[in-house]
Amino acid sequence: MSQYYTTTDHFVLVPALMLALFGCAVLLFEVLVFPHPRQRKWLLLFVLLGLAFAGAGVWRQQNFLASQGIEELTAFGGTLTVDGFAIFFNWIFLAASLIVTLISYRYLEVEGEHHGEYYGLILLANCGMFFLATGTDLITLFIGLELMALCFYILVGFLREDRRSNEAALKYLLLGAFSSGFLVYGFSVLYGLAGSTKLRAVADALASREPWDPVVFLALATTAVGLLFKISAVPFHMWAPDAYEGAPTTVTAYLSVGSKAASFALLLRVFLMPLGAAREVWEPLLAAVAVATMTVGNLAAVTQTNIKRLLAYSSISHAGYILLGLIAGNETGIKGVLVYILVYTFMNLGAFLVVVALRRKDLLGEDLDDLAGLVYKSPGYAILMLIFLLSLAGIPPTAGFIAKYYIFLALIETRHYVLAVIGTLYVAVAIYYYFRIVRSMFLAPLADTGPLTTSFGLRLALVVTGVLTLGIGIYPEPFLGFAQTSLAR
């Protein structure tokens, strides 16, 4: 091995290599080895294998850090950094990819758009997410972001014959590319300030400047606009409901957790490390954004009748809550953010899984009324959905409550009382619209008697997400410990 590609570099890169390799292999194999539609299950096996290999890579990194007792492992001259933070997020991404892969097979058959590229794109998007969590260099982060985003543009528009899907993809692409432009403009200014693209060098350069320096502010503002677009914070949220509604539901699920978690990983890296010096500038700005995000997300969700759109607005409001943890900014707050993202991944995925099960050849299954009386037809699904919704609303003893609790605790510890009260009040609003779904499922008479679209993968994914959502709520200790060890630095 040369000095340009050491064993450490390789060790750090393995998960991404596996994801990229298997992603490309899936693309090739669909054409060359398994051209027949009936052979697609072999492709699925390949995807699972790729995720398993990537998981093994992450696991070995985690063990290595633990056994050596070191905090972080840098590679490629500081371009990539594996630390607890990166490993935490990589597990979340892999779990999300795995669950989405499990549920997609049957769903794509129903949609009549079952192609191998889908799985390749999921693996490549996951590869991009890896770089977002692991990268500590502006170029790496930008490339990771774009790799993920490009995959998502295509995935959102995956239903080629469906105009809603086309439109959603186009809107997502236009706004996404626009926001990436702003983000990378901010990155270029940061580079200009530091003379280096390494996050640590940028942090040092900013620390030696006044927080209110206009050039710093320009970098901060453009970067923030780009990042806030990605996490769909108000006022940059307009793309989210459209993209969520138009995309295939499995992709919506992936978009709402994978893309959001990865964007938050990026946001945390950028705001805590290089921009940490300018905290006094961005804290009030982010506070205003967070309040606006919770307000718009929660109030707009109240009137929605399309479940995917409702969940889209709810996920906007969740972004607001996560931002609150960053605003608090103490150890509890960052831990709260990590716990929230972990919990959000499972509960939100779970809710979308139920929506996926509703889709049939003859039924879109996206309207609130399509859920009516679900408990009479499939009580198991209704009860699991109830657990997910309770968790999303933040009612004990579910995981969502623990997550919200940490955010509020951090806010009160850091004397952000007004934000804490606003946050708690919006919980009450959120309960109203989540319980519209509950009401429809449990209290309305059965409307549609057709069977749900289920598969082994879907049931497995539902059980896993359900058990985690309830389990983290009842006995959160191991997961809190995991988040604690993953605190950046």
Partner: protein, 513 residues
Amino acid sequence: MTLLNLCLALPVAGFLLILAIPKENHRAIRTAALAVSLLVFGLSLGLAVRFDTSLPAYQFVTNVPWIASPAIRYHVGIDGLSLWLVILSTLLTPVGVLVSWRYIDRRVKEFYALLILMESGLIGVFVALDLFLFYVFWEVSLIPMYFLIGVWGHERRIYAAVKFFLFTMAGSVLMLAAIIYLYTQAATFDYPAILSLVAEGRLRFSPLEETLLFLGFFLAFAIKVPLFPLHTWLPDAHVEAPTAGSVILASVMLKMGTYGLLRFSLPLFPSASREHAPWIAVLAIIGIIYGALVAMVQPNMKKLVAYSSVSHLGFVVLGIFSFTQLGLDGAVYQMLNHGISTGALFVLVGFLYERRHSLEIADYGGVATPAPNLAVVFMITTLASIGLPVLNNFVGEYLVLQGTAQVNFRWTVFAAIGIILSACYMLWLYQRAFFGAAPEPVRAHVHDLSPREWSAILPLVVLMVWMGTATQTFLPPIGAANARILEHTRQNVEFHVKQRPPGAASAEVARAR
């Protein structure tokens, strides 16, 4: 495993047991629910037997870690205040099972599963000694009730269920904020620990802080009680709920609010409680009189009983905010009384509904002729409810009135008007429903009490007489617990009660300074 943990865990086990029974087998489900609830009741009686009034501390305590950081513990225990409320919950659950025997004929399995699960949440609220744990139980008990109302209720059930849920949630999220704030100041969620910090003056709040914290808790409790003008969810919830739901809601759930006031608001925020006592007492009195007046004009039996609850709970709040030993004792006694007698009224109204399928008073008349036993039991319950001596409510109301008289005699006068009004609406109801000419449907459908119905109502009737005569069975633990609460409200009262109620120069208040 203490007895108390068994009482908490058994309903959960029963819940799982019921889930395991095939859903067509209604008989087995009902029997299992009854057996589990009776078993829990039996165990809870063991609590009363082994409860030692002379001990000042909490008993049957379990205190184990649950979440490490921040330290949240599974800390439960009971004192004289929670003891009877736990037993009230365990008593009313089998009653709820029995009254639903015929009444619930669809989705039987889910109904009983939820009913039994809710018991655990209710007990948990009364025994939790960790604020975080308390909040968790507080919320957990809500969800089953939402479904009981929403699924098995009458026509406007969904509206009522949502209204019930939103009202209670809106209050409790602010309580959560207050609890977390308390944690950041005290560095613990442990209630006895916080209490001793407050008592020893090591944890001090500025007047503004204490007022806001007090209001955070108070709003959650006041909605639950419900205190006028936050009561509007109650009549809707009661009217739409199935009988068992109404019984549990009125008898146990409303007590969560008054229990919270006594357990948390008064000892933790003594200065703020005293400062705000006057207007709260006024609201309570408005509730007493308003509830009674509105009850009088109700054409619907359940709504009448629901408004009478608003009136009765006004007495409890008034007693609590009199800050006298008698007032507090009366308030707790009245909490139990209301649980028994209003629970019994809802049971009886449920019996009538099962026969005649109507809740309108106008649809009844002359019921005493075809169903004399029912009429007698209803009469006893009515008399208990209006506070006739020898029956239970008299004791509670008397104590409350005497306690208030020590503080402000005008309050006593207005509250007493409420008692007179209660006699009017209850006796008038009785006269319209049970006397006079019996219309054809009443004669055809209304039959007398069956053995199952007897078994549901008889324990309550016995308790009415018992609690009305042998008060010493119940009062000593209550008195001891209340004395400790009052003791806490006298310590470290840092800012003075600015607006003393006119004529409040009683010995009790003076001693508090």
